[in-house]
Amino acid sequence: MRTTFTQLENFGHSLRAPSYLIRPKTTEEIHAAFKQAKQLGLTVAARGAGRSYNDASLNGGGIALDMSAMNQILEWDTGSGLARCEPGVTLEQLWQKVEPEGWWPPVVSGTMKTTLGGCLAANIHGKNNFKMGTIGEHVTQFTALLPTGAKITCSPKKNADLFYAMIGGYGMLGVFTSITLRMKRIHSGLLTVDAFPVPNLSRHLSALLDGAPNHDYIVGWLDTMAGGSSLGRGQIHAARYLHESEDPKPQETMKLKNQILPPQIFGVFPKGLLHYFMTPFANNLGWWGVNVAKYIASLPKHTFRQPHAAFHFLLDYVPNWELSYGRGGLIQYQSFLPKETAEAAWTEILQMSKKRGMPSYLGVTKRHRPDKFLLTHAVDGFSLALDFKVTDANRAKLRAMLEDFDQIVLANGGRFYFAKNSETTAETALAFYGKSAVAKFKKLKKRCDPNGLLESDLYRRIFGRQE
């Protein structure tokens, strides 16, 4: 097996980790990589598409298992909607396979480039978290290889402790080798979307709360530049599937060519170049303008139909948009808060960020519900994701501000999500996961990985090296 030493980055281009890259094609080759790592005294971290904003897929100085070569859809049953896939299968491959036959992945991320292995490791949620939960809730079974060499099969019934710990376990207990996921039946390639403005944070959150039960998806855009009585204003997009009779030509709307994002805008301009034109706007004044313009454009309330892919994969609309943030890259700060405390906490956070002159450029809100995975980020409440540009000049100030944010979130019973936050400390993680959950996870870690072979930069940041 070829091992290449190479520089890996995170999605936000804010971290670099030189690593030995191994690209296994089979379970046996993963096993061989484990043996090789042990021989060399190195640690191993599995890497999917490298789309997390932090250090979840990085293992500086160690081995990164690039899972992208294990990307076969092994079985697809269009009758039951069950798909058995290798872990390197991307959401893009999956939806393009199942959508023309009237199915859609039950939970998807904002980009379709993510791999199923990565999605399970982070236990991702979508804009339907309040209704469908995380992706893990739709996994009927998975197989995994443990560092001990044991091949295991887990389902909610079989090896349930590992099922609920490995999903959301960030690849630190074993490496997924196959994943069986149940798709959601759809009756049209289109969603019907209600778009309406919300004038402040209080109305913003109540719109999410009240809108959720009547829709399948709900997401809010939050104008991070607005202050005063308009703090937290934005626009809600609430979508629902079409019923059987609502789309006269479902076969037509479900065709791939009616779903795929166009490679050009205005029919002529290649989107691959678009991020260069965003760069001049990637500063406080530029994004202030973008946010204000977006809010004004959002004022008329309207309802429209939109293909699934266009509604979900906003992050893919401008390829490489993250490059527009420049050399320092960007970070995302996402906090999950109970519905009772969210408004107070985010009022404080948004005001603090304005006051300290470090506004976020993009804010996104969602509605959530709890789940029963061991390392869960979910709450009965909301999440707010804030993007910040990183520069040499703002690093220290931004770090101090995020530490203050962490305290506000913890004091309000909030949680964090490790596909996103890059600065969360071990103490903070222990505080919101709770001592017993962490102890339970570490016990499983000892059982599955007695020699501490699986480690990522994220793992070392949150749990430290194993004794």
């Binding site: 520089q7 640690t43 970070i331 890059s422």
Partner: protein
């Protein structure tokens, strides 16, 4: 105060867990080969102060451990990890390099500082054993460490190599042919690495110190003009690293002195006594 009681007073930072590198607190990671004393130790203190996490290598275990203890105490976290090592154990270098890079979680810079100077004892004396030791440590030691590091940096398309040459490597002189040769070899080797690696985004810095008030200076024969403290040399090196320079003299005055010396024609130079 012995190093033992020093450690007992305040708990040591957790050496197994150097502070993590995050987007907002990026940690630069470095190796200094030859850090037990002299310019190496001074540079270790300087880089640690600037936030680097370091692996410090040297032959003198006690001094190395004490230096790491001092650095970590004053930083309040693990910034320096000691690795006792003799650079003439060439076969150990690749494996130790791999282990250190794994421990540090990456590598931004490697500094090869180890050097010995054993003059033959006069312009009419010859001593192959001394010459051999100098080439083995100064030149082969550098090649043993910088070759695998260069390969790593080339693949990662990033990194910085700092090698310590000497003003003594700019001309062959009557006093110490072996030392001149070892340092001239280092200059040429670093130049070759620079020509290979610049296109891969790797910076190679050649440092040519004049006289520096270290243990090595005691071996020097004759006058030692413009002698500086190791801290001054370390500062110069750090500034050059930041600016990603190619070659520096420390103190910088030597650039002009050596420009003149390098241009002394041989028919004059071979009659000189220095």
């Amino acid at each position: 105060m012995t190093s033992q009681s020093f450690f007992n007073e305040v708990p040591l930072p957790d050496l197994a867990n150097p502070a993590p590198s995050t987007p907002l607190t990026p940690r630069r990671r470095g190796i200094i080969v030859g850090a037990s004393e002299g310019i190496g130790a001074a540079l270790a203190r300087k880089l640690a102060q600037e936030g680097y996490v370091l692996a410090l290598l040297g032959r003198q275990k006690k001094k190395l451990t004490a230096l790491c203890g001092e650095i970590n105490q004053s930083a309040g976290e693990a910034r320096a990890i000691p690795h006792p090592h003799d650079v003439t154990q060439y076969d150990e270098a690749p494996e130790l390099l791999r282990k250190i890079v794994a421990d540090l979680g990456g590598l931004d810079v490697i500094v090869f500082m180890a050097g010995v100077n054993y003059p033959p004892g006069g312009a009419d004396k010859y001593n192959f054993e001394n010459d051999r030791k100098m080439v083995e440590v100064n030149l082969l030691g550098a090649m043993a460490w910088l070759t695998p590091a260069a390969e790593m940096f080339q693949n990662a398309k990033a990194g910085q190599i700092v090698g310590i040459g000497s003003v003594a490597g700019d001309r062959g002189r009557v006093g110490n042919p072996g030392y001149n040769t070892s340092k001239a070899g280092v200059h040429t080797y670093l130049e070759a690495l620079r020509n290979r690696l610049t296109r891969h985004g790797v910076n190679v810095l050649t440092v040519k110190p004049g006289f520096v008030k270290t243990e090595m200076l005691k071996a020097a024969q004759g006058a030692t003009p413009f002698a500086i403290e190791p801290e001054k040399a370390a500062n110069d090196i750090y500034n050059a690293m930041r600016r990603r320079k190619q070659t520096i003299y420390t103190p910088s005055l030597w650039r002009y002195v050596m420009f003149v010396i390098q241009h002394i024609p041989s028919f004059i130079f071979r009659r000189l006594s220095f």
